[in-house]
Symmetry: D2
Subunit: 264 residues, 4 copies
């Protein structure tokens, strides 16, 4: 069984048979931090580096990201490692700037219903990853995706990153059934973000394995050289050591799922 | 007991002792429709006309509003009636245009976490009404407000418009306890939008009375000359006849609450 | 306009034109505590005393109530003050025992879907107050009520006590629109419990005023002589002093609403 | 790595290394229907048959189950096939009766906070499966379990069956991160019920695979010979044909996970 859905970004396939792994720091804090992570994820076989330069923060008094300085650091990481760069765009006015540095634009959960932004992203040539709003239904998520594809940008993939529920024993509630459901409704690739969904590094591996087993097209995780010192979301970042374990388990599961497909 | 909080917009007080009523069509559909409503709300003593020109719609295939054409219709309504104009801004790129026509800028529920927009609105001279995100906690709502006041725009008021819950017997769940709580935490005026909160015209009067009794600084309602023909949200719009009943009941409650204050 | 719905319990009307106030301690802790509260609520004109003897607690290690000893204390309070007694029944096996002491049986939020209990309560002669499950839709609430009335017990009233949402800035989210909606769907009286809904004593007055303005048939509040020493839910209990202020404001609102009805 | 947690029920292990599969009809409708399913699940290697005789239904006008007649049918299925029987108990008064027929007692989601029932089940000798309340936090779920184990009944296992969220694109929101979290907090075995969680037969296989990958101790599914004719929950029942596919995929995943464990 060969699955021809998905698309390529500079030679890296998103969607289709082989799940994609995207990894990197939540926030670009410095060149040193970014380079350590970039080299580690590259060494592990990852092809896309994520990192935030513009950060949507709940409080105006929290660190808001390095801005263009952060984009330049990501570009430097790309120049050294060859990794593709994925970073968040928060506003129509940032699109041109970010397109100069990034290979994939990310729409964050808080902007899933920022329809002005979605419309504008329908008209760029750069691939987009659209995160599900943490309070968006599956139907609203699919309609938000339509805002982008309707504009002509077909290189779109989705990301389930947890929804808000009454229970905060995990940071959000990862909705894996939505992933399985979307696989039945749409040809758009869909990955998960277990770091933001659970808010706990120790749940990232089980949830990532579960997502692949449920049919997800990939996983995006946060990695930090010293999670306890991270400027943002340290509790949910994998250390470099945990990231190695993560990658080993991902590889086994990916291989198992490929063997299952071959048997059909 | 005299309450000196609040501020003035061209002579109309928002916050303080006297609750404010804001009324108008959900969407500006035509000059005729807007004028009929504007005259009716003016005749009833209302001083602020609401109406949407740029509409954030869940589906890209739904009517997206008349845009600048709608702003011109609102301006014409202002020229004839003297009503102040309140309308929604969805994106930083629209601010300059809308400021040419509107007296109050409205941030919709889907944009409460559009921090780029909030920052930009902190720097304009026009008053802003910030709606609570339907997925935002009270704390997140108050921090979103900080994005605007931190920029120097002190003429800000809030609007509770219902949060999303598991029960859709009303469209959203109007959170009046949040209104009472915010009155204890903040000096920012806060009103409610029972039309969007409940999605049912027949619940607007009881919820508006309840909000005033709970201490809200006002109510914003949708009025349409022929709700059954509305292009958007007809089920939750008051007809002109219901609007008269609404205003009569509001006046009685406002008078009762004023008499209670005088006794203290 | 005369509203003939509702019913009588030993001469006290529930439903109909005059809102009912039910007050008392969350939990019967001792005869002394109960008597102090009973005398205070009686003096303020209240006719129904609430108090828990069997307590459904989240943890098996929390105080579970005094059981039959608590029922005897409530009975003693009734003998002295003439107040009617309302207390919670958790299980079919407790019904006979509690009926010996109580005038009104209360089904708690955690038991709204305990259909065996509801069926059994359809067959007793004692009036029942059914609390909405904090996870129940309005439709499920109305169907749970049907379990009781179908059995032949027509003296049933409802209580909205807050639903669970993503926001815990109040303990639960008081759903006043559900109260207004149920008033349109059903002839069953419905009151609110602002103590459990908000979890904050300082929100009880505004929410109670709001509920009456929205058409609720009454309010049930927790009162404790020393809230800071309460064995359960102290933060949400009114002190005796706050209870006096509460009653004064209730009386004014009740009078205002009666004058409004007379004008129609 | 050998995992010694879990316990045995008449030779069938629940918890520990080998995931358990529990299958059967939602509701016992007739001897014929039950026997067809029992033989099919037996043939597929399943050792525990589930089936409801007492059904907690939202409406009093819905089919309430066959009661003791249903228990007798389950017993007949056991006599023929040797399958263990698991069925729901709704109330303390039913415990003795059901213990005469069943090997495992099930507490449904609506009764997770029926603390009288939980206490009583702490004192029986029969193993219990406790379902998570669809509006219960993980903490509340663990404390409900304590009600049973505190009474001395150590043969308890848990079942995640979906929580209620704002999104009804699936019937409930399966919370697999809660499963992974509970595996870190507790030695109690935990399985999932994808039938009730998703409400869709076509999501049962992906969610079951995901649950095993996340570390769940098993899966419970509904099977019906003719789902479209089921008296209850037909849309979420596997047909006999889908059940075969389900079992084949479960076996492959179980074998893969066992091979992973052996490598450690």
């Amino acid at each position: 069984m060969d699955d021809r859905t998905g698309f390529e970004v500079s030679g890296v396939r998103i969607g289709g048979n082989e799940p994609v792994i995207i990894a990197g720091p939540c926030t670009v804090e410095s060149e040193a931090q970014t380079m350590v992570v970039a080299r580690a994820v590259k060494a592990a076989g990852v092809k896309i580096l994520r990192g935030g330069a513009f950060k949507p923060r709940t409080s105006p008094y929290s660190f808001q990201g390095l801005g263009e300085e952060g984009l330049k650091i990501l570009k430097a990481a790309k120049d050294e490692t060859g990794l593709l760069i994925q970073t968040e765009v928060m506003d129509t006015s940032q699109i041109d700037l970010i397109c100069k540095y990034a290979d994939i634009l990310q729409v964050g959960t808080r902007n899933m219903m920022n329809y002005s932004l979605l419309k504008a992203l329908g008209e760029v040539k750069v691939p987009v990853m659209l995160k599900r709003g943490f309070m968006a239904t599956v139907e609203e998520f699919m309609l938000a995706a339509e805002y982008i594809t309707k504009g002509g940008n077909e290189r779109l993939f989705l990301c389930e990153r947890g929804i808000r529920s009454f229970d905060d024993s995990t940071r959000f509630t990862l909705d894996l059934a939505a992933v399985a459901l979307i696989k039945k409704m749409s040809s758009l690739p869909i990955i998960i973000d277990p770091s933001h969904a659970t808010g706990r590094a120790d749940l990232i591996i089980p949830m990532s394995l579960a997502a692949l087993a449920a049919g997800a097209d990939g996983v995006m995780v946060e990695v930090h050289p010293r999670p306890e010192k991270a400027m943002c979301d340290g509790l949910q970042s994998l250390s470099l050591e945990m990231f190695e374990e993560f990658m080993a388990k991902m590889r086994s599961m990916i291989e198992f799922l490929a063997s299952q497909r071959r048997e059909l």
